[in-house]
């Protein structure tokens, strides 16, 4: 039944007009037990897990409820698998047609497991053999954030900036396309998504002064259909007559050029390495861009568009509908490539089409996704770089004493560059109206002095020293009441940030992991920890849930610490050097004492 339903949806997406699609599927967009008038924008992951966040709205919610608050204590390991690569296992597996797919960290092997047999034996492994020069170029470990399934293909990226389509049944390559060039510092770490006949992916590598972009490829051939740059002239940013930003500060011609010193937009950053969401009814893609190029903010006067910007674009042409620059002229490395969760729900008395964006800035943005208006921006953790957002102008009220300047000492800036949260994705439950945010609590001191050396040339490195923020904890799972824009409760982690994605289910459970390696289920209403299991390594991946051919519900998670913050667990990174790894070891002192690199997939059931 599940398979048939899904087939029908895909057919509807492919062949029907959007309005028709929306009308026909309205019923399935209301999940069982949802609060009044809370609706998904696309069907929830109800049995399989075919795209990175489970659904186009990026809710990471599944209605599956066979595992619930009553029986969760019976969960046990029913299968596990080693990828053989002890690096950060970010992202999540897919489950399609009784097969579970894993994309490993570099060298980005694709592994297929048969979930119809006990222990989930391996069906095949595909080796894309990416260029190993990518390893030296990637900033923050050699991670990959997962794949998408469409049209019988598994679509994923390799670190050397290629997108691959592999036959989901046979494990044979169908096409591979170079979407970037590692020789200019471009890499790909994100999980692509597929809408209709197009694949969407992005370029990372902002640390090396690249020019970020979203790239669309034809699903059948892999041919590049369009590129939407994050900096440069309107013609290359794909800004045309349909572009209607809500705020005056984001209006004007060729802002991607004029808001920079001459030529600097050519290495202006604005990487695209997070999550893409899609609204089938409005037919718009949503994603965010990373921080501007040249860290030294004093060298790039201006707002530096379109770094740190949330975009709405037409999926067929890439044409921008609106853009909202979250931080003008960044001085903190506050990437805003975070997930954008799309949900329809009542907001201050009337139904709104919302976009929820828990930001690296530490602010929780609620936006109208039709217009790009910010409806609310409230702090979800300790924040002092700005006191608030002005919703009339869209600008932050910045505390100038917390702005970094090279050669000046700026003390106690919260959050640190790692943000109030990083790319690690939240989950939203329509049954509780709560957004579950995996959050960090770190602050930093900033001073630009240390001598360093690159490409044969001495340069000045900033001394960024990070340390735990106020309150005696470093990570927390925050329950955010969306309708009332406030914190309800949190589950705190004293020693390490929460660096795992979140899953919410119809069984009123919220699953997430800790960097120590605990995999937890908490009560979606209260946050009470109902079950936990110690995995072999720290968790930086995202949980998923699916139904097996036996009708049982399963939950899967990677266990393999790594990534920017998690890389401190590796033997070659010292926790005693507070300035290594862009300053994060100061917040990660305990990690080597509590976990080691790992390479495992765990699958739980009852």
């Amino acid at each position: 039944m599940i398979g048939m339903n899904r087939g029908w949806m895909v057919a509807a997406l492919a062949f029907c007009g959007c309005m028709m699609y929306a009308q026909k599927t309205t019923a399935s967009l209301t999940v069982p037990g949802a609060l009044p008038n809370i609706q998904m924008v696309s069907p929830a992951a109800n049995g399989e897990w075919t795209m990175p966040a489970g659904d186009y709205g990026n809710t990471r919610y599944s209605p599956l409820d066979k595992i619930n608050t009553q029986n969760v204590q019976n969960l046990r390991v029913v299968a596990n698998a080693s990828t053989g690569i002890p690096h950060g296992h970010e992202g999540q597996p897919l489950v399609v047609n009784n097969t579970l797919y894993i994309v490993t960290p570099f060298p980005n092997n694709l592994i297929a497991l048969d979930i119809t047999k006990p222990g989930f034996p391996q069906k095949w492994i595909f080796h894309p053999n990416p260029d190993n020069r990518a390893v030296g170029i990637a900033c923050c470990d050699v991670v990959n954030r997962g794949a998408s399934f469409a049209d019988g293909k598994i679509i994923f990226n390799t670190l050397d900036a290629q997108t691959f389509a592999v036959d989901a049944n046979t494990g044979k390559k169908i096409w591979a396309t170079a979407v970037g060039d590692i020789k200019v510092g471009e890499t790909t770490t994100m999980a692509p998504i597929v809408v209709k006949n197009m694949v969407y992916t992005g370029i990372s590598g902002g640390e090396l002064g690249i020019r970020g972009r979203l790239v669309a490829l034809d699903l059948k051939s892999g041919r590049i259909a369009w590129k939407a740059y994050s900096t440069g002239p309107d013609s290359e940013v794909l800004i045309g007559p349909d572009f209607k930003p809500f705020y005056a500060k984001d209006r004007g011609k060729d802002l991607g050029v004029s808001t920079w010193t001459p030529g600097q937009w050519k290495m202006g950053g604005g990487s695209v390495w997070g999550w893409v969401s899609y609204d089938p009814e409005l037919n718009l893609l949503y994603y965010g861009t990373g921080n501007p190029g040249v860290w030294n903010a004093d060298m790039r006067p201006g707002s530096n568009k379109w770094s740190i910007t949330i975009w709405a674009r037409d999926p067929a042409t890439g044409a921008a509908r609106w853009a909202y620059q979250v931080v003008d002229h960044d001085a903190w490395d506050y990437d805003e490539i975070m997930e954008n969760i799309l949900i329809d729900m009542p907001w201050q008395g009337r139904m709104r089409k919302l976009l929820l964006h828990p930001g690296r800035t530490g602010f929780m943005f609620v936006m109208d996704r039709e217009t790009g208006e910010v409806l609310s921006a409230e702090k979800f953790g300790p924040v002092n770089w700005a006191s608030s957002y002005n919703l009339k102008t869209g600008e932050a009220n910045v505390d100038l004493s917390k702005r970094t300047h090279f050669g000046q000492y700026a003390q106690h800036i919260c959050p640190s560059s790692t943000g109030g949260k990083d790319f690690i994705p939240s989950a939203f439950s329509p049954r509780t109206g709560i957004l579950y945010i995996p959050a960090h609590n770190t602050c930093m001191d900033y001073e630009g002095t240390a001598v360093n050396y690159i490409a044969g040339t001495p340069y000045l490195g900033a001394s960024v020293r990070m340390y735990p923020g106020p309150g005696g904890y470093q990570g927390e799972l925050v329950a955010w009441d969306v309708a009332n824009a406030k914190r309800l409760w949190s589950v705190k982690d004293a020693d390490l940030p929460v660096y795992s994605g979140v899953l919410a289910t119809g069984g009123d459970l919220v699953f997430y992991g800790t960097m120590e390696g605990w995999f937890r289920a908490v009560d979606a209403h209260t946050g009470k920890v109902l079950w936990e299991f110690k995995t072999a390594s720290g968790i930086v991946g995202d949980p998923i849930t699916f139904s097996g051919p036996d009708g049982k519900q399963y939950v899967a998670i990677y266990s393999g610490v790594g990534g920017w913050m998690g890389a401190v667990a590796f033997p070659d990174v010292s926790t005693s050097d507070p300035y290594a790894a862009l300053g994060v070891p100061g917040t990660m002192k305990k990690i080597k004492d509590v976990t080691q690199p790992g390479d495992l997939l765990y699958v739980f059931s009852y």
């Binding site: 900033c139 600097q264 290495m267 501007p292 060298m299 001495p458 340069y459 000045l460 050097d577």
Partner: protein
Amino acid sequence: MCSVIKLWLLTGGALLFAANPALRVCADPNNLPFSDRQEQGFENRLATLMASDLGMSVEYTWFPQRGSFFRKTVGAGQCDVVMGVPAGMKAGVIATEPYYRSTYVFVTRQDRNLGLHSLNDARLRKLSIGVQVLGDSDRSSPPAQALIERGIVRNLVAFNIFGNLNEADPAADLIHAVENGQVDVAVAWGPMAGYFAKSAKVPLEVTAIDYDSSQAVPLVFDIAIGVRKADLKLRDQLNGELGRRKAEIDILLKNYGIPRTSDPGER
């Protein structure tokens, strides 16, 4: 390497191999004048000289000197030395005594007759000035910073220090931009500027930036060999050889057009 292998075969030997180990060098395969895979850089020559003095062969691990170079090469135990590091650098290596001191320089076309030598020259507010920048990591190039602190920002033209690895001499675009008039002046690290100016198509002028004691940002750096942290013995051996070979090293650097200075430097 070849002769080592032959000897190995002749003597059957583990003993010889242990007695004649390699000096393991991590270097950039495409970064002249410092190093390249054809071993044409002055750091390649210096490595050969040091190794032969120590009775060693040279064994390279090639790795682009960008991103996590130090962590993934000498920091990961891939090699014993990196042939050039600032003597004051503490992260990941211990430095030998410096073997040269250079400075950031102005590079202009001789036919422009600009005669620039001070960062306080009022003309720098109008001229277009090429500088190298370092992507969006938390770093700044010293001359860019020194200019920014003088309020000279809008007329800076940024060049990516990493350049494009598809091209030979990726970092040379800054000097080429002076040659072809794309910028009026480049402010560049002396060794790179001096070397590429020598082979420029039009005559270029390379002038050291005047020492300014009120200048907070260092523009003069002592350069040393970086040794992996545990190996104090190798550092001491190299210090001995650097002293003994000082005259040859000075000639080597001169042949590569490396500007030297006696101004006070960053240690």
